[in-house]
Symmetry: C2
Subunit: 336 residues, 2 copies
DNA sequence: CATATGCGGGACATTTTGAGTCCCGGTGAT
DNA sequence: ATCACCGGGACTCAAAATGTCCCGCATATG
């Protein structure tokens, strides 16, 4: 079934549509085309094409008083229910989450990144597909760091509409290993898609003084300007403590984070359980107000262990597209 | 799986196409688009659309030297093989039989009419769909009798292109019960589709003298002319002995049929194992030369027990479209 | 080293399909 | 008798699929 979905991705949509139509007719008994179209929020013409098809298949019958299921249709509806349920589990979950957080789109890939490397790759592929979908020519794309983002970058392919894109890191260095840093990922993405890239080389742990002088450097200032004008932001989501440790922040900061209830991390900011920003890493780049102004913010993350963190960032509420795996989706639902 | 096929009939085609492409690439290793298109008998553009899709799905990769499967593609190909085999079993069978008997189309519905009434209905539906497909406006459609044809008639629906059709019986009365006679079926089909019909009332067991005088009647002559000009013929296929008994032919004739090796019956003619006509029922209507001249001859039959009879009529070799069930198809294959 | 071949990918005209919208005759309830 | 709603036909326009050709590039071949 999953395999089939792989070779026929829109199978799900069509199946759902037809199932819904049959289901509604079954529920109503006899119903007219226009009434049904209104109920299902389909245009008359589309509904009609489907009805013609279903009639051709002998699943429903038309009379002057309206349409009703045939015997075969009734039987099919029974038989197909479990199939649809399975097939649409994720689809429904996607829609639930999308509505819950007022997102533009939610993509759920089957599996658990924590369990399977393959799911992580799949997540990367889905993330890349999402980016491809929302990118248009000449966009500035700001990307964060992390292993998930690296996976996304790895699955990007050259495409016409991203040829002119400019990839920039969302923030300066954040203490990650080189290949997982935003800079590396931005450059990988650019190479993979055939786009341009600009880097932001800012050391970690800047003092106030150094920071001020750095921000007066015209080169730095210019690239920061570009970053802040990004039309698309792609970032991962991490567990606050895991991230803090990975970035080797000092004990005092960790204690602070704990005290503040930091749970999740994304693009250098730390969020508590309610989605409030409780801490930020001291480096330059995208600010919160930039995130809010960005047209499309894409979050990619996966793994059951990340569920809570994802929930926190979602409550922050400035994401547009969420790409997660099944395990995270289920977990996320538990944290509502 | 069968259920799914019911709601998404062209799923099979697409799946087969994509599977074939992946399969070929796997077999070749690295192959160019044009070379592949030639091999698969696809136009370059279509192949390309598919390749783009498969690439999007991460199933294959392109290099300057050509395309090859990705790791995921290789795995998918393995996983999907049983699915495709099951799903395409009938499709392949259709194609095998189509090629073997040089037919225009073979339709196989799953199941066995002998076992299940539902399969018989399904066969009727498929027969009706085939007739609908090949009928065009104003056609003369000659239909034979039998329970299968009655089922076909039952599943016809009003349609624009058959509104002007003229349904006629292929032959005069052949001793069947009224509702299974060609006359009844022609009239049912006309009523179901919204077409016209003309009947041919000729009693059974005509003497030579009566036959001659009947054929001088201008009314009879005219309708016979119409029948012989039919552009489409739809008929069932029966076991010779079963039909003979059902038509209550006398012992002497049955003995003759046995002696001649009659195996199958269709539109009033009896065929032996090799497809040679060994006997004809004495009534008026379509002659063999008319069948040969007919643009589209559609045979509808099903049931494991009919396999041999169908094989015999197929060897006769003037059919264009064959609609059978799975059991008959498998049996038919055994009799090659 | 030069040339030819076959590659993927871009581009474009044309055909085919899909979709939105209206209208019509029929039918059943009021 | 009237009216609302039914299915189905028809038309237009937009979008997608398709056939076709070309280009720059890598590689193999002479």
């Amino acid at each position: 079934m999953d395999i089939q979905k792989r070779l026929l991705p829109d199978l799900t949509d069509v199946l759902k549509k037809r199932y819904t139509i049959l289901h509604h007719i079954a529920a109503t008994g006899v119903v007219g085309r226009r009434a049904l179209a209104t109920h299902l929020e389909l245009t008359e013409r589309v509904l009609r094409a489907e009805v013609d098809f279903l009639k051709e298949q002998g699943l429903l019958e038309t009379e002057s008083s309206g349409m009703k299921l045939s015997e075969a249709g009734r039987k099919l509806l029974e038989d197909i229910e479990p199939i649809v349920k399975e097939l649409l589990g994720l689809t429904d979950l996607e829609e639930t989450l999308r509505a819950r957080f007022s997102l533009r789109q939610v993509v759920i890939v089957p599996g658990d990144c924590d369990q399977s490397e393959l799911t992580k790759k799949e997540l990367g592929r889905a993330g890349a597909a999402a980016l491809r979908k929302y990118a248009s020519k000449g966009d500035v794309v700001a990307v964060a760091g992390g292993s998930t983002l690296a996976e996304v970058a790895h699955h990007l392919t050259p495409s016409a509409q991203m040829k002119g894109s400019l990839f920039v890191p969302a923030r300066g260095g954040l203490g990650e290993s080189v290949e997982l840093q935003a800079n590396s990922i931005a450059s990988t993405m650019a190479k993979k898609t055939g786009g341009e890239y600009r880097l932001l080389h800012v050391p970690d742990h800047l003092g106030e003084e150094a920071y001020v002088s750095l921000m007066q450097d015209p080169n730095i200032l210019e690239i920061v300007e570009v970053i802040r004008s990004a039309r698309i932001v792609v970032h991962g989501i991490g567990d606050a403590m895991v991230m803090a440790r990975r970035r080797k922040v000092d004990q005092r900061t960790i204690a602070e984070l704990t005290a503040e209830g930091a749970l999740a991390e994304a693009f250098g900011y730390y969020f508590d359980r309610s989605g409030k920003v409780v801490h930020k890493m001291p480096t330059v780049g995208l600010r919160l107000e930039d995130i809010q102004a960005t047209e499309t913010v894409i979050a990619v993350a996966g793994g059951k262990s990340k569920g809570e963190a994802i929930a926190a960032v979602m409550k922050f509420g400035h994401e547009d597209v969420l790409v997660i795996d099944e395990a995270a989706a289920v977990e996320l639902l538990h944290h509502l």
